[in-house]
Subunit: 218 residues, 2 copies
């Protein structure tokens, strides 16, 4: 095994360190954040969406105020509403392209060929191509003292997904939906199911749950 000390990390060339450290957390979710303000739409890829709680239903995401998604963060602050949309394997390239620094007046929807879609019940734009769309209302924005990044937490207001995507017990097979995952800054991956396990108890062997419940994508 190779040992990398903190001192070695601190002395690394900047881009090398950024690539390395961004890989350490493991595989990350691939999502697009959709916002609008006065009809001007923004779309930004983000790999830091994290589960905060189920009741009330809350998702968080880490945003750096001074990097690319700054329009997105400003729209969220001003309007209070945003969408999170799963990125799928077939169009990871379009999703990655949203990270380019487009001029403020350019919509990343138009620039990348993704389609904005509005539900009758929500004010922020969804990505039509996404099979799992979530509408959120800002609940809390926490500035982290350690490096001034911001943790944006939102309450889930509505969900859009294929008719038969949800198993009887609430589980969604994301592999079948074709959701992608991310490693580092620029690596995209598909997934294959290994197992679902029962609730773990001491001294009781785990049971494997059914991962084969069929559903159609509608």
């Amino acid at each position: 095994m190779r040992h990398i000390s903190r001192n070695e990390i601190d002395l690394m060339e900047r881009n090398t360190r950024t690539n390395l450290i961004n890989c350490l957390s493991g595989f990350k979710s691939a999502n697009l954040v959709g916002t609008q303000q006065l009809g001007m739409e923004n779309l930004a890829i983000i790999s830091s969406v994290v589960h905060i709680g189920a009741n009330p239903p809350l998702l968080g995401m880490i945003m750096r105020p001074h990097t690319v998604p700054r329009d997105t963060l400003e729209n969220i602050r001003t309007t209070g509403y945003y969408t999170i949309n799963h990125v799928h394997q077939q169009w990871v390239e379009k999703a990655h392209q949203t990270s380019a620094r487009y001029p403020r007046e350019t919509s990343e929807f138009a620039a990348t060929g993704l389609t904005s879609w509005y539900s009758e019940t929500f004010s922020a734009p969804y990505v039509a191509e996404s099979l799992l769309k979530i509408g959120l209302k800002v609940e809390e924005i926490v500035v982290l003292a350690c490096n001034l990044t911001e943790l944006v937490i939102g309450q889930i207001e509505e969900i859009w997904l294929p008719q038969d995507a949800v198993f009887d017990d609430g589980f969604i097979d994301l592999t079948r939906l074709g959701s992608a995952c991310i490693s580092g800054l620029d690596g995209y991956h598909g997934t294959s199911p290994l197992a679902r396990f029962s609730y773990a108890k001491p001294d009781t062997p785990l049971a494997s749950l059914d991962l084969t419940q069929p559903f159609e994508q509608k």
Copy 2:
């Protein structure tokens, strides 16, 4: 598409809601958190590790004080040190078993058959079977007002990984390392590489980067 309103979410049976909401963020990293206090070791699986920053190198994780990893959180508070270890596809079952509520005096290492390993330079236990091990020192613990979960942020003190795992530009191919990912509470997945893309710029087609740089696991 199926529409699920906030009202429908709130009225769901508790376990169904927990399964559903835990799937929404997308694929999640699979990590084991290792801690010890007075020689008593704890090991807990966690799917909420998130990149906070590269310089200084910081990782965060969401922990619920009143659920399973409470000994882990207490050890982190008391000692200030913990490890994060990637879970690999070959032993996801052992990793999941760490989530059982063992008596306080039981080490999840012994109970699940995973092996604790100490580097000469770090006080918290690593998982010997893991190919990517990170030693961290607590930097900041933020209690989230929205539901009283805690965001634990640590500075990376050292990294252990296979000799040739790091590409020249700092990237680590986690698919080759065999790192697993998680969906929901209990779904485990392997991954397959789709692409690495160049830094995105407006009006410039993305280039694909090499994902085939060979390395041996040592």
